[in-house]
Structures are given as structure tokens and as C-alpha cells.
């Protein structure tokens, strides 16, 4: 169990050069958008990873509040950090792609707005955890749950808000070869993110256990102090 994340990291490191080669040399250039469309193979997997870990963080936070589980708390922290990290990737690659194909980096499309807000919610989550009052774990957990609930609502809200504005299609139908390349990239990035979350969650659990050991040592003067 201990070596799984490192094995995943190695596999991701091996797969990533192949992804780049495949994206740039073996996948046909998209007719309408040209070379700029290549960013799609990194943008979309990052967006999926961002959403996935947002949901995981919300669920883990719910378990943390219900069961008072340290494991769930550690997973929630790690997943929250991964959401922010993947979100930065999405929010950097998205406007670059938009600028190249739509001519403007920001169109206020429902997906853009909901991703940006999701990112803001999880940055707030990390800020509250880091700088909050003593009970900040609970507030942050409530925040993560609300964040996970909010995202689909925001998506729908922006959609109806935008009915008075021009609609922008993001991706039309793609040939199978492009989808295959996308899945290879997704596999590489997914392995990387799972490995990072795994390592970070283990580290967070250790930090929680260490805190408890310090408190135990402090309340019982005779007990041995943790190293």
C-alpha cells in the first residue's frame, strides 16, 4: 500500500512524454481551430480532475463532520488542494485556448464562470483552514459541502443568465483518434493527481496524529514526548 502512490508517480512520469508525442505528432490537426486545439488534451483532463476532486472533497468533508473521522479530514484537505491546483491549470489553459479560437479569453460562458467560482470556493476553503479560528476545520468542511452543492446550480444559473447573450459552442463532435489521445492524457494526469492526493493525505493524517500525540504528552506530564 505504501508504495502505490510512488508507483503511480513513476507510471505517470513514463506516460507523460508519450502523451506529448502523441498529441503533437500522431493526432490529426483539428480542421477549424488548428494547432491551438492541442491545448484541449491538457485542458479537459485538468477540468475533469478539478471537478472530481471537488466532489471528493465535499463528500469527505461530509463524512468528516458526521463521523468525526481524521481519515476523511486528511482526504478532504488533500482533495481540496488538488482542486485548487487543477483549477489553476484549467483557468490558465482555458483563456489561452479561448483567446486563440474565440478571439477573446473570457466570454462569460457557463462553464468558465462555474469553474472560476468552484476555484474561488476551494481557495476560500484552504484560506479558512489555514487562517481560520480554532474551529476552522468544521467551518471549512461546511464550506466544502456547500461548494460541492453550489457548482451544478451555478452552471444552471449562468446558463439561464446568458440566454439574453450569444451562446458559444465549446467543442463540437470529435473524431475517435482525438478522443483516444484525450484518454491517454487523462490517464497520465489522473495517475499524477491521485498519487499527489494520496501522499498529501497520508502526510495530513500524520500531522493530525502528531498534534494528538503532543496534546497527550502535554496533558500527561509523565508520558514520553513524541520525537
Amino acid at each position: 500500500m505504501k508504495y502505490i502512490p510512488y508507483a503511480l508517480l513513476l507510471a505517470a512520469a513514463a506516460l507523460f512524454p508519450y502523451c506529448v508525442q502523441r498529441v503533437f505528432l500522431h493526432t490529426p490537426i483539428e480542421a477549424e481551430m488548428g494547432t491551438a486545439q492541442k491545448i484541449f488534451y491538457f485542458h479537459v483532463p485538468l477540468a475533469w480532475i478539478c471537478m472530481l476532486f471537488a466532489v471528493i472533497c465535499g463528500v469527505a468533508a461530509g463524512v468528516q463532520l458526521r463521523r468525526r473521522s481524521d481519515k476523511a479530514e486528511a482526504l478532504a484537505v488533500a482533495a481540496g488542494e488538488m482542486t485548487v491546483l487543477a483549477g489553476v491549470g484549467v483557468l490558465i489553459t482555458g483563456p489561452i485556448w479561448g483567446d486563440a479560437t474565440w478571439g477573446t479569453p473570457w466570454t462569460g460562458d457557463a462553464r468558465q464562470v462555474s469553474t472560476a467560482l468552484l476555484w474561488l470556493v476551494f481557495v476560500a476553503y484552504l484560506l479558512v483552514r489555514e487562517y481560520g479560528p480554532p474551529n476552522s476545520e468544521r467551518i471549512a468542511a461546511a464550506l466544502a459541502i456547500f461548494g460541492a452543492i453550489d457548482v451544478p446550480i451555478i452552471y444552471y444559473a449562468v446558463k439561464i443568465w446568458k440566454t439574453t447573450h450569444p451562446q458559444t459552442g465549446v467543442v463540437g463532435s470529435l473524431p475517435q483518434s482525438m478522443w483516444n489521445t484525450l484518454f491517454v492524457c487523462l490517464a497520465a494526469l489522473m495517475m499524477l493527481s491521485i498519487a499527489l492526493v494520496w501522499i498529501r493525505a497520508a502526510q495530513a493524517r500524520m500531522a493530525i496524529a502528531l498534534d494528538q500525540a503532543w496534546i497527550a504528552a502535554d496533558t500527561q506530564p509523565g508520558a514520553a514526548q513524541p520525537a
Partner: protein
């Protein structure tokens, strides 16, 4: 029934305190006026068509600002007089505490909107269409403020013990209340345009309010009890600070 009675008792208590000093209503109301005047200065030059597009944003931005101001004060009062622990020890349902604070916030926000909407009507001629459908306008303001207060009360309660942590409330509040504010924006736009689907949007806001109040009520107890005292959790709420203190104390002996 008991829940409703307890909620009413707590709400009446808060409203009575408010009626004696008028602190929240006066400060929030004056702040609303300040914001409206600032909007008037900033957007004075907009012509009629653009004004109509900008007014929903002005209404709900103002509510968002006033709401953050009010929410920090609603629980501050309990904190300053150390009555939060007493409130939690009182034989009332925790849900009643949440609902009463929600009701107080809602009353303050609605008082502010009673200043805000006519104020905007006075300064921006395009918003005078608000007067065409007063019923829809009232329903809209109540539903929008209710959703905002439902999220806000939960997190204001959570931050109630953190001295000087009020900056965090704004950090949390604005991203999380965006859905309800967006829906309210859509509804306001439709109200101004006389859109036929106005009532459909309003019922969507009502449904969203039910969800937000439900989640808020579900999470309130966990968040607030962490704020007031530790009720034997697996890990005490201030574990990290206590651990840091223990670590600091032990360092010289090593």
C-alpha cells in the same frame, strides 16, 4: 410547533434588543444609502438602455455588501456579552437558534432593500419600472435575501468566536452565495423587462432557498458547537493550536 414557538421567542428577543438600540438597522440602512450614492456617482452617465442592464447588478451587489456587514454583527452581539454559551445551554432546539438568527438577518436586509429600491428608483429613472409589479418585487427581494441570509448565518455562526476573523466571512460568503445572487439577478432582469417567465424564475429561487436553508440547518449544529465548546470529538476543535503550544513549551527542555 415547539420549534416555531422557540424560534419566535428567540427572534423576538433579538428584535427587542434591536428595537432598543437600532444599531443594526441604522448602520446597515445608512450603509445602504452610502452605497446607493456611490453607485449614483459611479454610474451617473449611463443612458437608459444601459442603466436597465446595470440595475440588477447594483441591487444585488448592495445586498451582498450590506449582508456581510450585518452578518458580522448578528453574532458579535452574542460574543461580546458572552451569551453564546448560554444560548447553547438553553433548552431550545439548535435549529431554532439558526432560524431566529436567519429571521433577524432577513429583517435587517429587507429594511435595507426598502431603502435601496426606492433610492435606486430616484437616482436611476430606468429602475422606475420596479413600481409596475410591486408584488413580484417584494417576493423577489424576500426570496433573494432569504437565500443569502441562509448561507451567511451558518458561516457567521461558525466564525463567531474567531476574534478579528471577519475578513474570512467575506471570503467565504461571496463565492458561496453566488448561485442565489445569480438567480436573483436573472429574476430582477426579467422583472425589469417584463419577461413572461418571471414567476418561473422566482419559484426556482424559492426551491434554491429551501435547499440552502436545509443544508444550513443540517450543518449549523456541527459548525456552532465547534465554535462554543468542544463536545468530546475525536479531536478537540483547537487541537492544532494546543499542539503548537505544547510543542513550544517543550522545546527548551530538549
Amino acid at each position: 410547533m415547539r420549534l416555531l414557538r422557540q424560534t419566535w421567542l428567540l427572534t423576538r428577543n433579538d428584535l427587542r434588543q434591536e428595537a432598543r438600540r437600532l444599531e443594526l438597522v441604522l448602520t446597515a440602512g445608512f450603509f445602504t444609502l452610502v452605497v446607493v450614492v456611490m453607485f449614483a456617482l459611479a454610474f451617473f452617465a449611463l443612458d437608459g438602455v444601459v442603466q436597465r442592464k446595470a440595475i440588477p447588478g447594483m441591487v444585488w451587489l448592495c445586498i451582498a455588501f450590506v449582508g456581510a456587514l450585518t452578518l458580522t454583527r448578528v453574532f458579535d452581539r452574542e460574543r461580546e456579552s458572552n451569551t453564546l454559551a448560554a444560548l447553547l445551554a438553553a433548552p431550545v432546539d439548535r435549529l431554532a437558534i439558526y432560524l431566529s438568527k436567519l429571521a433577524v438577518t432577513l429583517v435587517v436586509l429587507l429594511t435595507c432593500s426598502a431603502l435601496l429600491v426606492p433610492g435606486l428608483g430616484l437616482l436611476f429613472p430606468a429602475s422606475q419600472v420596479f413600481a409596475a409589479d410591486p408584488l413580484a418585487l417584494i417576493v423577489l427581494m424576500v426570496l433573494g435575501c432569504l437565500g443569502y441570509a441562509a448561507v451567511g448565518t451558518l458561516f457567521a455562526a461558525g466564525l463567531a468566536t474567531g476574534n478579528g476573523k471577519n475578513v474570512l466571512l467575506s471570503v467565504i460568503l461571496y463565492p458561496l452565495t453566488t448561485p442565489v445572487l445569480l438567480f436573483a439577478l436573472v429574476a430582477t432582469q426579467r422583472l425589469l423587462e417584463g419577461h413572461p417567465e418571471l414567476w418561473a424564475t422566482l419559484s426556482q429561487i424559492a426551491a434554491l432557498d429551501v435547499v440552502l436553508i436545509g443544508v444550513g440547518a443540517w450543518l449549523f449544529e456541527t459548525v456552532l458547537i465547534g465554535a462554543a465548546h468542544s463536545s468530546q470529538p475525536a479531536r478537540s476543535p483547537d487541537a492544532s493550536s494546543r499542539a503548537a503550544a505544547a510543542r513550544a513549551r517543550s522545546t527548551p527542555t530538549n
